[in-house]
Symmetry: C2
Subunit: 213 residues, 2 copies
Amino acid sequence: MSLALSNPAFDAAVAAPDDWAGAARLTFRTGEEIYAQDEKADLIYHLVGGAVRTSFLLADGRRQIGDFYYPGDVIGVETGEVHRFSAEALGPCEVLALRRAGSAAYDAGRLDRMIWQATASELQRAQSHMLLLGRTTACEKVARFLLDIAARFRGDVVALPMSRQDMADYLGLTIETISRMLGRLQAEGVVEFVGTRRYRIRRPGALEDMAAA
Amino acid sequence: MSLALSNPAFDAAVAAPDDWAGAARLTFRTGEEIYAQDEKADLIYHLVGGAVRTSFLLADGRRQIGDFYYPGDVIGVETGEVHRFSAEALGPCEVLALRRAGSAAYDAGRLDRMIWQATASELQRAQSHMLLLGRTTACEKVARFLLDIAARFRGDVVALPMSRQDMADYLGLTIETISRMLGRLQAEGVVEFVGTRRYRIRRPGALEDMAAA
DNA sequence: CGGGGCCTTGATGCTGTTCAAATAGAGTGG
DNA sequence: CCACTCTATTTGAACAGCATCAAGGCCCCG
């Protein structure tokens, strides 16, 4: 894949499993919308390269990030007819898109099983997110967030594909609070930032303790 | 059912659908645990009468209520091997319990479909709960809560089967804040409480406005 | 009628927000 | 490659909302 060589956002590109054979390949640029809130949920997506956020907008402009997705994740699975959240590319992205139903060319059993797994995964994510939002302090939220993101990476230095605003809207905080908590964690020698969007965990034990739960 | 006549908690008792034919019938008293956090999830339950809460305990004692369940709801469906939350009876309860797998006597297809529907329903609940916890004020949370509970009732006067502490742990607030917000809504003539656990919505429009989202 | 838990109310404090401004960083064109 | 611009991020100070601490009242039930 030529893009993979030219853009670091695609470094983590993964091969699609067989279930996605014949799916349409789509690419999105930074900030582009993959699907919109309240749009009919015809397609499901397999993220191959890049990173994606899902978001929910309230009438007055407040925003809640549903989750962040990485290569290998399935996006766009819904329990109803329409998308409750929208999905946007955090950087250059590549996805495979498959029609949820109707195409007789695909093995319904396989597709169903995949949708089932994706739904179960979504439920786990949503429940964890709920626990994170409900009864934890700003410091605990940020610590848990850094650990969760790091868990998805192989390397020592973790890249944050999202902005501080995205983190804030995910954790139910403001960017200022995010910034202060990150500063505090760094001052305490728990994490070390290299630039604003890369960090290394210096004392994993301490970070775990701060994340509680 | 004799209990239904003697205890108002069972007023809403529902007939179990065919899928639950042959399930074991169990009853629980107020506060009794139906299943425990981290317990192996062998059984799924159909709530026939009463009301149930699911809760998650953090190591230091903080508690997050997952959701409240009413007759007709399915409880105990998990994406993993064990229960992430525990379930407790809010009052006298009656449930039907079915082994999740292993029993050849049941039609696997039907059971699977039921589990699928319950999982999808759980996902919707968790997502809504996430939105409620993330970006809303105490007042909005309480207003939304009163509307959601009322939506599950037929009658004019809505019964709250849970304590203020349960409401607080559901909304990520303290009992004092809950009490103050309820007091405020009543003072403004939006709702009217008769006793501490029954209310009537006086101005539905105003309540909707306060719930935003 | 009395006990005991549940709920409400009041005073005070802390956590996180808001508002404001400085700084750093990324992208662009010369 | 560097200067410039625009946005993202950090930092500071004042404020607000909700929590905490502490009584006091209500209600349910024996």
